[in-house]
């Protein structure tokens, strides 16, 4: 059914999104927004976190209004049920990031062993640095030997043989002391997730506070463990990102080129596709088929990984994944894992698009499965690119609609190394700018899209307000793509910032909103925050910093928010997490936790009000520092 202008504008603020929502409707597609409407009203017990289906004596629900049952069959009350459910969300998020990290460690090991043709060590500098952190001396060893040793040491991080994770070495001492005191220092990556599943089994941990504390430890095992390994090993294998220009929105899909769209999270597959797409033989084949080249474009975080290191343009973020197919221009979409809507395969059947799944642990309806393994990834990538090129001729002209708008320019690639590089090698100039007040503080605006919120409205509105008030924004994931589409990621966007931030951006030639990578790369923000705190000999929670996830939807986002708060960063969520069935837990997480961790959560769906809260928080932190 066609949509009215008002319906379209209520769904997204993006120009390309508005065009392709109608195109999708014309083509008879059912999109994520349609399915969300069909699901309404959603279950109130689940929205409040008050339903439990952990065991077969249930499922149980607690009546939040006090009249109906106040305990599940096992006797768990609202607080226990909400805490258990939140704990399992954290465990799922931490498991996702950490499993992603493990896959990269496997490649690192195989590169060292010589069993991963096509992959290589792109950053020996980072390999040596990280190996040293793990106590592995580099002297006299080849990069290959070092890679094997480091992979072995990292594999141990996942197990239970540790007292604490290695990357905690980068955490300020004051923060470490807080974690030790609370008993939430993460020990092993898989251990904390596994223990969370154990604790939330019927009849194990039934103290809601102790469940929540373990939730924080589980989240920390992601932030300073699984995700940290994922980011560092990606840099070792594929290079440390450096500032790079690129473009974003559906206009990056080219009518006269073979379009291969890469979607998911892990760069293992997409980096090999990138290499294959440079192959002269395949380029010649594309030309033979009448195409002017092979055009790669990214979606979600696999896209961000390629963007950060290779400047590959972005087609869009989470809510654009279906609409990208409706252009009729996608000759092949290759997915790895996470955030890939199971609806995509069926949507693609309306077009000529070949849908390819690549991970042994992520299969989808209506997709052809071409499994990637380090040993064969190079040849598999060439095979897929060839298939995509051959599919170019099969486009259905009646279904093709190139984006009417031109791609928006952007700049990405701001790894911690790149930021420090731009500052001349040390965080001192940034600290000086914060001290002088030119930069009031910094905020990580991160997270997903969620059809409950007008697409990109939460991100862009919040970020515009922050930079206007001289607050530097760093971003990752779908939020970063939203900001790029809105034109906030070019050096000229400094004009939109307050006078102080504008001056700093102009002198460094950087945008006021810095792209730090994929959602796993939120640890780059942690790393930077820790480096600033260490340089000042203080704790992260003392700094004028905050985080926000205005449009979050995933379990990974819950884990990220928890490790941010546990690391001392005030965090504002745009959609309410399922905890409101327990007033005690709401109070703990939004108020009392401040006294324990020096940071808390806030929930604020209105991005303008969220901006005001963050600005107030930053003013308070500055005042406490005597600034």
């Amino acid at each position: 059914m066609l949509l009215t202008k008002a319906e379209i504008e209520a769904r997204t603020i993006t120009e390309d999104g508005q065009v392709f929502l109608q195109k999708a409707a014309q083509d008879g597609l059912e999109t994520v927004w349609d399915r969300y409407q069909a699901q309404k009203p959603q279950c109130g017990f689940c929205e409040l976190g008050l339903s439990c289906r952990n065991c077969s004596m249930g499922p149980c629900r607690i009546d939040p209004f006090g009249e109906g049952p106040q305990r599940g069959v096992c006797g768990a009350d609202a607080d226990i049920i909400v805490a258990r459910n939140l704990g399992r969300m954290i465990a799922a998020g931490a498991a996702s990031h950490s499993d992603h990290g493990r896959d990269l460690v496997e490649v690192l090991r195989k590169v060292g062993e010589g069993h991963a043709p096509g992959y290589t060590i792109r950053s020996e500098e980072k390999l040596k640095k990280v190996a040293a952190e793990f106590g592995i001396a580099a002297d006299g060893k080849t990069p290959a030997d070092l890679a094997v040793e480091l992979a072995h040491a990292m594999e141990e991080e996942f197990g239970t043989r540790k007292k604490a994770l290695t990357f905690l070495g980068r955490v300020p001492e004051k923060r470490r002391a807080i974690w030790d005191k609370l008993g939430i220092t993460p020990r092993g990556i898989d251990r904390e997730t596994s223990e969370m599943m154990h604790r939330t089994h019927m009849g194990v941990d039934n103290d809601w506070q102790s469940l929540l504390l373990h939730g924080l430890r589980n989240a920390l095992s992601d932030g300073w463990g699984g995700s940290f390994i994922a980011t560092e090993v990606s840099d070792i294998l594929f290079g440390i990102p450096q500032p790079v220009p690129s473009e974003v929105n559906l206009g990056v899909l080219k009518e006269n080129q073979v379009n291969i769209v890469l979607h998911g999270h892990n760069p293992i597959v997409s980096e090999m596709i990138y290499e294959a797409a440079q192959d002269p033989e395949l380029l010649a084949l594309a030309s033979e088929k009448g195409a002017e080249g092979i055009n790669l474009a990214g979606l979600c975080c696999t896209g961000n990984e390629l963007l950060m290191r290779r400047g590959i343009p972005m087609a869009g973020n989470h809510l654009m994944t279906e609409l990208a197919l409706s252009t009729g221009l996608v000759d092949m979409m290759i997915v790895d894992y996470q955030c890939i809507m199971p609806a995509l395969g069926e949507i693609a059947t309306c077009y000529h698009t070949l849908m390819i799944s690549t991970s042994d642990k992520a299969k989808f309806p209506h997709m052809a499965h071409h499994e990637f393994h380090p040993e064969t990834a190079q040849s598999k990538a060439r095979e897929l690119v060839r298939m995509a090129v051959e599919n170019y001729e099969r486009r259905l002209p009646a279904k093709v609609l190139p984006a009417p708008n031109t791609p928006t320019r952007m700049m990405a690639g701001f790894s911690v190394e790149a930021i420090l590089g731009a500052l001349g090698g040390s965080p001192a100039p940034l600290i000086e700018a914060i001290k002088s007040g030119a930069v009031q503080g910094a905020v990580g605006v991160v997270g997903c899209n969620n059809p409950k919120i007008r697409q990109d409205f939460g991100h862009v509105t919040l970020t515009r307000h922050l930079i206007e008030n001289d607050i530097l924004v760093v971003d990752t994931g779908c939020a970063a793509v939203a900001h790029a589409k809105a034109g906030l990621k070019v050096p000229e966007a400094a004009a939109l910032a307050g006078p102080g931030l504008q001056q700093v951006c102009k002198s460094l030639g950087i945008p006021p909103v810095l792209h730090m990578g994929s959602c796993v790369d939120n640890v780059r923000i942690l790393d930077l925050a820790a480096a600033l705190a260490n340089a000042l000999g203080t704790d992260i929670s003392d700094l004028p910093l905050a985080a926000a996830a205005p449009e979050w939807y995933s379990e990974k986002a819950v884990s990220i928010a928890c490790y941010a708060v546990a690391s001392g960063i005030f965090t504002v969520l745009g959609t309410p997490p399922p905890i409101f069935g327990s007033p005690k837990i709401v109070k703990l997480l939004t108020e009392d936790i401040e006294g324990l961790l020096g940071a808390s959560f806030a929930v604020e769906p209105d991005p303008e009000k969220a901006a005001a809260r963050i600005e107030q928080h930053i003013r308070q932190k500055r005042k406490a520092l005597g600034l």
Binding site: P41, C43, G44, R61, F65, E67, G68, P576, F580
Partner: protein, 184 residues
Amino acid sequence: MDESLRERVMVRLERCVGCRSCELACRVAHSQSGTLWGAVMEEPKPRRRIFVEQAAESPAPFLCRHCEDAPCVRCCPTGALRFDETSGLVAYAVDRCIGCHACVMACPFGVVQPGRGDLFVVKCDRCEGRDRPACVEACPTRALVLETAFLVDRRRRAVGRFVEAARLDISEADLMAAGSAQSP
């Protein structure tokens, strides 16, 4: 149907899965804040006017039937409860109520509740000011529907079964033995 008449809520028992979404939606519709997150924090807590009970093996939502010759109206000594000819609903006027609870005892369905605090009696008002009551909107399986939709659905199902039987040449006796036209 006269436009001023308000359609009643009908229950398709066979569709109820016992999720209690109608109960939550009813409370939110009768809360101060009008939102789920606000309603759970309110004091006094908003009351529900619909009840999902377990009857035999089946979950079943119950709410005021707005009877045309209502026992609650007949026994009300002050006229606080009366059948409103315009809307076709049993209306309640709190300012006339003395809180005797004769209506609570008279209702054969147990859906008129003794009030606590400001209201003497709590019962379904069919969501004043809303075309579709909150419970109907909230029902994920469409077990709760308004009467026109209910009747159209029943007729179409019944006709469908008879037409199908005629096509397949099934006898009337077999058709009846196969179950009621009301099964989903």
